[in-house]
Point group: C2
C-alpha cells in the first residue's frame, strides 16, 4: 500500500511536493488543502481532491503524512503543532533562531497524539545542517563554513520591492569566490559578512524615478544590504521576466580540519548544491523525509524530530539489504 | 565517564585512531592490542597498556568499544565476528562485494552477545555511501557518480612493486577533470572506466633494469591498469621518499537529478573530500561512529549495523539540544 500524502498549502512548495510525489513509487497524493475556496484551486494531479484547510480534521484516516507547505513567519508556528495532533507531519520551518522553541511546542503535542513530527526539513535547515553535524563530529579540530548561492533570496527580493519607486526586483546572493578558495586551502580564515557574500540586485523602476536614490537606498538598507558589497542593475520589466524568472539557489558547507598527533594533516570536507528550482528541491527533501516519518511512526515512535534523529536508511525506498548491496 | 576505546591492530589505521581519540574529550584509549610481542610495540599514548590480541577476552570490563584496525582481505572476516562476541565493535571492512556476507556473519553473533557491531565505517564505504543514499533518496530521477582521488591506491602501489625489476613504487588515482565537469553540467553522461580516472605511477627501478619492459608490464596489467590511461615515471629512491611518502586521498560523490512535472529542472548534489592522510581521516570517521556504537548499545540495541542505520546525532559529542540550537 502506498504512503498517502496530504499537502497543506498550495504555493510553490506545495506544487513542488506534488511533483516530487510522482517520482516516488511508494507514495500517492491523497489531498491538497488550501485556505482559498477549493473550487478556485486547480492542481496538477487528476482525480485528487482539493479541500479546505478546515476539513483536514475529518480526514485522519485518509492521510498517512501531512506535509506543511506554509511559511515560517506566521503559518508553521501555528499549523505544525495544530496538525501534529492529528497526523504525522513534516515541515520546513527555517527561522534558525526559533527552532528550539518550535521544537518544544511541536514535541509536546506529537508525544500526546502519538504522531511523528519532523521539523525544519529542506536544505538549510536540512541537508546543510546534516553536513555541518557529520563533518564537525568527524573533524572536531576545525572550522565549518556555510556559503549560500548563487541564488535568489526571497526576503531580499521583497525588501527591494518595498523601496519607493521600485516596481519589481530580484536579488541574488553570491558567494565570494576568493573566500571559497581561502576556505578550501585549509588556512581556516576568519571571514566577515562582507567577505563571504556579495548581493546583486536587478531592479525595475517606475518611469522617471530617481535611480540614484533607489540604488542608494537599497545599498544602505540595514540588515539586508548595508553589510555587503551590493550591485544594483536597472532593467526593464521584460528583461526581468525573460532573464530572472527562475528560482535557482544552492550553496556550500565546508569543514576544514586537522588530524594527527601534532595536527599535521589537513582535511577538507565539502558539500555543495546547485539547484535550478529551490522550492522543488526543498520539496524533494521533504518527501523523502515524509517516508521516514511514516516508517518511524509505524515502528511506534512519536514526538518531534529533526534530520539529526533520522537514520539515513529510512529515507530510501530501497530495503536495508538492497542499500547495503548497492550503495554501501 | 569516558568511553573506553580499545585499538585492535596497531598499523597506520590504529595509530590514526590513537590520534583521533585525543581530539574527543568524551573518550579515552584503554588498551592497544597487537599480534606482535607487546614488549616490542611502542605507542604514542603514555600510561596505556599494549596487550597481545589473545588477551582481549580478559578485558571485557575495561573496554566499551573495540575498534578493529586490521585488513579486509583476511583479518576482519575473522576478527569482527570473533570480537563482536565480547565487545561493541567498529570495523572498516571495505570489500564492497562481500559486505552482505560480512554483515550476516557479524549480525548473528552480535545479536547473541547483545553488542552493537558497526561495519564498513570510513569514507568509502562510509561517508561516500551515506551521500549516495541521501542524494538518491532525494533525487530519485537521476544518476550518481563516484570518483576517487587524487590519492594513493595501496593496492595499485603493491601491484607495481610486484613487477620484476621494481624496487619501490607509488600509484595515484586521479579523476579526469573533463568527466567531472561533464557530470556537474547535468548532462548525465555515461562514462567508461577509462573516461573516469587516470593512473599515474612513480617507480624506482633496479639499476640496469629494462625500463621499457617495466613500463609496458605495468600499463598492460589486467584489472589494475589495462583499462586505464596510465603514465609511468621513473624516479630515484630519494625522490620517491621526498615527494611521495604521504598517503593523501579523496574523491567526489555527485548526484545529478531532475525535478518538476516535466523533469524541467536540474539539480546537482556534490560531496567531496580532500585528505592529507587517508588512514587518519578514516580513523576519525571510525572514532565518531564508536561513540554512536556505545550510545546505541546503552539504549539496549544490538546486532550488526552500518552508517545507514545510525541517526546522525549519535555521532556528535554535543547534546540533541545543542545540535538543534547550533547546527540545524
Amino acid at each position: 500500500m502506498s504512503i498517502r500524502i496530504g499537502i497543506f498549502g498550495y504555493g510553490n512548495l506545495g506544487r513542488g511536493v506534488e511533483a516530487a510525489i510522482r517520482q516516488n513509487d511508494d507514495m500517492e497524493l491523497a489531498a491538497v488543502f488550501t485556505r482559498r475556496d477549493p473550487a478556485t484551486v486547480k492542481i496538477a494531479t487528476e482525480g485528487v481532491k482539493v479541500c479546505h484547510t478546515d476539513d483536514a480534521k475529518n480526514m485522519i484516516n485518509d492521510i498517512d503524512v501531512m506535509i506543511l507547505c506554509g511559511g515560517s513567519a506566521t503559518d508553521l508556528p501555528i499549523q505544525t503543532p495544530e496538525l501534529a495532533k492529528l497526523f504525522n507531519v513534516v515541515d520546513s520551518f527555517d527561522t534558525h533562531a526559533r527552532i528550539p522553541e518550535h521544537f518544544a511546542n511541536v514535541d509536546s503535542v506529537a508525544k500526546q497524539s502519538g504522531r511523528v513530527a519532523l521539523i525544519s526539513v529542506g536544505w538549510d535547515p536540512g541537508l546543510f545542517s546534516l553536513n555541518r553535524l557529520y563533518a564537525s563530529a568527524i573533524l572536531p579540530e576545525g572550522n565549518s563554513y556555510t556559503f549560500w548561492g548563487k541564488g535568489v533570496s526571497q526576503g531580499h527580493s521583497d525588501a527591494i520591492r518595498r523601496v519607493e519607486g521600485v516596481l519589481d526586483g530580484k536579488q541574488y546572493t553570491i558567494p565570494v569566490e576568493s573566500a571559497l578558495d581561502a576556505v578550501r586551502s585549509g588556512t581556516n580564515p576568519e571571514l566577515t559578512t562582507r567577505q563571504k557574500h556579495i548581493r546583486e540586485c536587478f531592479v525595475v523602476a517606475e518611469e522617471g524615478a530617481d535611480l540614484a536614490r533607489i540604488e542608494n537606498e537599497i545599498k544602505n538598507m540595514p540588515n539586508y544590504f548595508a553589510d555587503y558589497d551590493t550591485t544594483v542593475h536597472f532593467i526593464t520589466a521584460e528583461e526581468l521576466k525573460r532573464d530572472h524568472s527562475g528560482i535557482p539557489h544552492g550553496g556550500f558547507v565546508i569543514r576544514s580540519g586537522k588530524t594527527g598527533l601534532n595536527s599535521e594533516h589537513n582535511h577538507i570536507i565539502e558539500y555543495s548544491l546547485k539547484l535550478d528550482s529551490n522550492p522543488e528541491f526543498t520539496a524533494s527533501v521533504i518527501v523523502a523525509y515524509a517516508r521516514a516519518a511514516y516508517r518511524l511512526n509505524k515502528e511506534g515512535q512519536c514526538g518531534c524530530k529533526t534530520v539529526f534523529d533520522v537514520p539515513p536508511a529510512y529515507l530510501s525506498i530501497k530495503s536495508a539489504e538492497e542499500l547495503r548491496k548497492e550503495m554501501l
